[in-house]
């Protein structure tokens, strides 16, 4: 069963890993609705 299809996606990206908007682009292609996307910064 798909993990993302039809689900609400919360995205916690990382400035020095993968930023939120880049993850959101991917997640949307899997049929999830992005309800929140943020990017954290440790530096």
């Amino acid at each position: 069963m798909a993990i993302l299809e039809g689900k609400k996606a919360i995205i916690i990206g990382d400035r020095d890993g993968i930023p939120g908007p880049a993850i959101a682009e991917c997640v949307q292609t899997a049929g999830a609705e992005v309800i929140f996307s943020s990017t954290e910064c440790f530096v």
Binding site: R15, C41, F42, V43
Partner: protein, 512 residues
């Protein structure tokens, strides 16, 4: 003609008490979890001034060791001692907290900083003994007040305390009773930024070998904002710092861009000089109290000292082309645009591959890359990884993708074209600029021919846009002689030709 890098200054102020009282990780913890183990343990993890001076990355920052030296030191760095470490370095110094507090008071022009008179008495001589601190600045240090007055201000008027070894020695009072933009908290933050900025400016000018009167424009590129409730970010740190530093002929303004600020500011400064608008521009920034101890929880949890215990400042002096110093080449500028997106490959592509391609260069044509030079000793235990290394891996991966580097050379790329990070996590401070001092020297010595400085900024933290940001530029060996040879006539010759033409013209007029 491109502008040149005349010199650079890099300074640290060791401020462990401000870690406790002003770093946002700690101030937040005191609100949400006042009885936490972290707050209880914090004090025993603070470094002494000597430990801070002996710390390898700090010695690299002020120029007493090179990034190459640091790369030979076994990781982690916090448990190693740099032999022969001292307060003063080629680029600047590590100022102790006591003296820095006095400098802060000297930078205050609205009587918001109040110091205990005994404290002033005990440390004024030490500050005066600092060769970079001028008599003008020392003359600004006030005699101080009774401690009881300071205690009352902290207790009753929301003043921010200034501490040394846990003891109250002064305070920063609010500058307005109602306006939050002039609250004690904001005044404290801004005065610390201003004071560290002044110190960096003084070293930048000294190291560039110029007179204070030569500086015509100052750009401050820190991350603070000053103003009142009607213009919260009105500015102008640049001119305020220039005044204390004694730059009588300078005006200036603030430029902001999160951590990418310094790179933006340097490009702007280089353009101002190249255009002829100003002959000599100082790009400068002070440090950020909010970020002190930012990753402290992770450091304490892992038994490390609090490594984010210094305010940092830097200053780079750009001037008209002198035919000697390395230049900022404005023909090779990388920029993350609105349309670039936030995919890491697009970000690094826009900053590194695209500008080089436009100039007909390959990624391997740049000898050294200075992206974000955060000290991995600080970031690794906090789960943010080795930031410079991650940048080098991305640049190398991009070079492989473009067929400019063999996959087998991926690992060696970082060693050849990279640097080990040494900069404190003070936001804008690590962003490319810590290498400019070394790059200037390495290019002058012929060790490298060029370097790319890359600044990146997390604009989304301001909640105005989700965009990322970044700009980059290339520093190269001086090309004035070549440019003149290519042009056929030198500037001097042009001047002579014009003078001759004028004379001839005048002569012809007289004849008539």
């Amino acid at each position: 003609m491109n502008s040149v890098i005349k010199g650079a200054g890099y300074v640290l102020a060791h401020t462990p008490q401000m870690v406790i009282y002003n770093g946002t990780t700690q101030t937040t913890e005191r609100i949400v979890n006042p009885e936490s183990e972290y707050l209880k343990e914090l004090g025993s993890h603070l470094r002494s001034y000597e430990e801070c001076v002996n710390y390898w990355p700090n010695q690299v920052y002020i120029g007493n060791a090179t990034p190459e030296d640091l790369s030979q030191v076994e990781f982690p760095y916090y448990d190693k001692v740099k032999e022969g470490a001292v307060r003063y370095g080629k680029y600047g110094e590590i100022m102790p907290e006591e003296e820095f507090i006095l400098l802060v008071q000297a930078c205050d022009q609205f009587e918001v900083v109040k110091l205990d008179k005994d404290f002033v008495c005990a440390h004024k001589e030490a500050l005066a003994a600092d060769p970079i601190i001028t008599e003008d600045i020392i003359a600004r240090v006030e005699a101080g007040t009774e401690l009881s007055e300071i205690e009352a201000a902290v207790k009753e008027e929301h003043a921010e305390g200034l501490y040394v070894a846990g003891k109250l020695v002064g305070c920063v009072k609010r500058a307005h009773d109602i306006d939050v933009n002039l609250s004690a908290h904001v005044m404290h933050e801004n005065l610390m930024s201003k004071a560290s900025n002044v110190l960096a400016l003084l070293y930048g000018i000294q190291n560039a070998g110029i007179s204070k009167d030569d500086v015509e424009y100052v750009i401050d590129c820190a991350e603070e904002a000053c103003g009142d409730m009607n213009q919260r970010g009105g500015g102008n740190f640049a001119k305020a710092a220039a005044e204390i530093a004694g730059l009588k002929n300078a005006t200036g303004s603030d430029s902001r861009g999160f951590c990418a600020g310094p790179s933006h500011a340097l490009i702007e400064a280089a353009a101002l000089v190249k255009s002829g608008a100003y002959k000599c521009v100082a790009v400068t920034a002070g440090g950020c109290t909010a970020k002190l101890g930012m990753n402290g929880k992770d450091h304490v949890k892992k038994g490390l000292p609090i490594l984010e215990d210094c305010l940092a400042g830097f200053c780079v002096i750009l001037s008209e082309n002198d035919g000697v110093n390395p230049e900022i080449n404005l023909d090779i500028l990388g920029r993350h645009t609105v349309g670039t997106g936030s995919a890491p490959q697009n970000v690094i592509g826009s900053l590194v591959a695209d500008p080089l391609e436009r100039a007909g260069l390959k990624i391997t044509d740049i000898d050294k890359y200075s992206p974000e030079m955060q000290n991995p000793d600080i970031t690794k235990p906090a789960g943010a990884g080795d930031v410079p290394m991650a940048n080098y891996k991305m640049i190398a991966a991009l070079a492989v993708k473009k067929g400019e580097l063999d996959r087998k050379e991926l690992a060696s790329f970082s060693a050849e074209h990279g640097l080990t990070g040494w900069a404190p996590t003070q936001g804008h401070i690590p962003s490319g600029v810590p290498y400019i001092g070394f790059a200037r020297e390495d290019i002058l010595a012929g060790k490298i021919k060029n370097a790319m400085i890359i600044g990146k900024g997390s604009l989304f933290l301001g909640r105005m846009t989700n965009l990322f940001d970044g700009v980059s530029f290339v520093i190269q060996a001086n090309t004035k002689a070549e440019a003149e040879a290519a042009a056929g006539v030198s500037e001097e010759e042009v001047k002579e030709l014009i003078a001759k033409a004028m004379k001839d013209f005048a002569a012809s007029l007289m004849a008539e």
